[in-house]
Symmetry: C2
Subunit: 202 residues, 2 copies
DNA sequence: ATCATTAAGAGACATTGCGTATCTTCACCG
DNA sequence: CGGTGAAGATACGCAATGTCTCTTAATGAT
């Protein structure tokens, strides 16, 4: 056996970005497996092959670690939102389907738990979303913007609250059900609510 | 001084409903003070002037205790919903204001935490709402029902999702902000979304 | 009235997770 | 190379959990 043999070779020490990524990956994995409540810092440390001290050096507590891990996972996994093709209904549905990945459950659960923390820190939900998206402008309105550009709907009649309506209802449903939306639910949101509201005659 | 003097007379032992109410009151108070995460079974026991064992005899854990306490507080405090007076917009606003009591924050927080628990138990949110409301039919749709009865809007065009829309948006906002809605937010929900959707020309 | 039963309330216990502190050893930088 | 800063291991005290045991008060049946 050589000296560099695999078996119980003392794992070489990671640093900087390498380590950080390993920690965040481990945290995200544990979050998916155990959920927020059952997540322990210790389990994350073990999965990452390190000790709790290393985690505490980076984040003051579970909340911050989960926030960082969620942001990390979102920025890593989530591809760009689908571009509008010119049909309001279809574009909205595509966007919801895009958002409705299997790990939304974990993301939304983290977001919900973040809520309690937010109140203390006097942050708004907007701050969190911005944090999670890493400064990228939210593309969730683009089907509506595109429809406005096409002249199909009137800019002035679409308040910020209406613009975010589809995603608000989406988020609400995921929070309550703790799972991705069914195809039917997405179609109902679009066909019963968002599209009728946007295209109503006045 | 008589024998029954107050001072440090050994508190007589409570049983049955008396005790149960005292426990639930204590749990609700602690929940309001500390929030779900910081709530300890011990604090509830102390506030109720008893010991943890008594609580564990009734509920298997924090989650179930909080659920029971929330239900208890809702059934005790919440008066009947305001009756519709015949103006859709005003009736919706009254209903939202009625729901927007200062303790909604606590209620909704409990509900949100319940979410994680629900997933395990394969319960739907509907089950929880029914549990919280103690079997009472939700009156939240009544302004819409009244408007339908008056012939102002068409029954067929109002799907279940549309009927619960105002409350869904209300709930979504409370969960995200972890506090009661502002008057402006309620007006926006009603004026920008719910009423236009319900009264649109087709 | 008295006696058996049930559960209240007090307290002890082991267990688990948290957050901190200490110590050695490695990786990097000049 | 030699200094520095952080990795990773480990130990500690603390807080909360959930279980158990023990006594004693309240209750219901005889």
């Amino acid at each position: 056996m050589s000296l560099n043999d695999a078996a119980e070779a003392p794992r070489q020490r990671r640093r900087g970005e390498d380590l950080e990524n390993a920690l965040l990956d481990a945290a995200w994995e544990e979050l998916k497996l155990a959920g927020f409540n059952d997540l322990t810092i210790d389990a994350v440390a073990q999965r990452a092959g390190t000790s709790r001290a290393v985690l505490y050096r980076r984040w003051p507590g579970k909340m911050e670690m989960v926030a960082a891990a969620t942001r990390h996972a979102i920025l890593r996994d989530r591809g760009p939102a689908p571009e509008p093709v010119g049909d309001l209904r279809e574009d909205l549905l595509h966007l919801l389907r895009w958002a409705n990945r299997s790990d939304v459950r974990t993301i939304i659960e983290a977001t919900a738990h973040l809520g309690a923390y937010l109140a203390q820190e006097k942050l708004t939900y907007r701050d969190v979303r911005d944090y999670f998206l890493g400064g990228r402008p939210p593309q969730s309105h683009s089907p509506i913007e595109a429809a406005i550009a096409r002249g199909e709907i009137d800019d002035a009649s679409v308040s910020p609250r209406v613009r975010s309506l589809a995603f608000d209802l989406f988020r609400h449903e995921v929070i309550l059900n703790q799972q991705p939306l069914s195809e039917e639910a997405m179609v109902e949101i679009v066909d019963d609510i968002v599209v009728p509201l946007l295209t109503r005659k006045r």
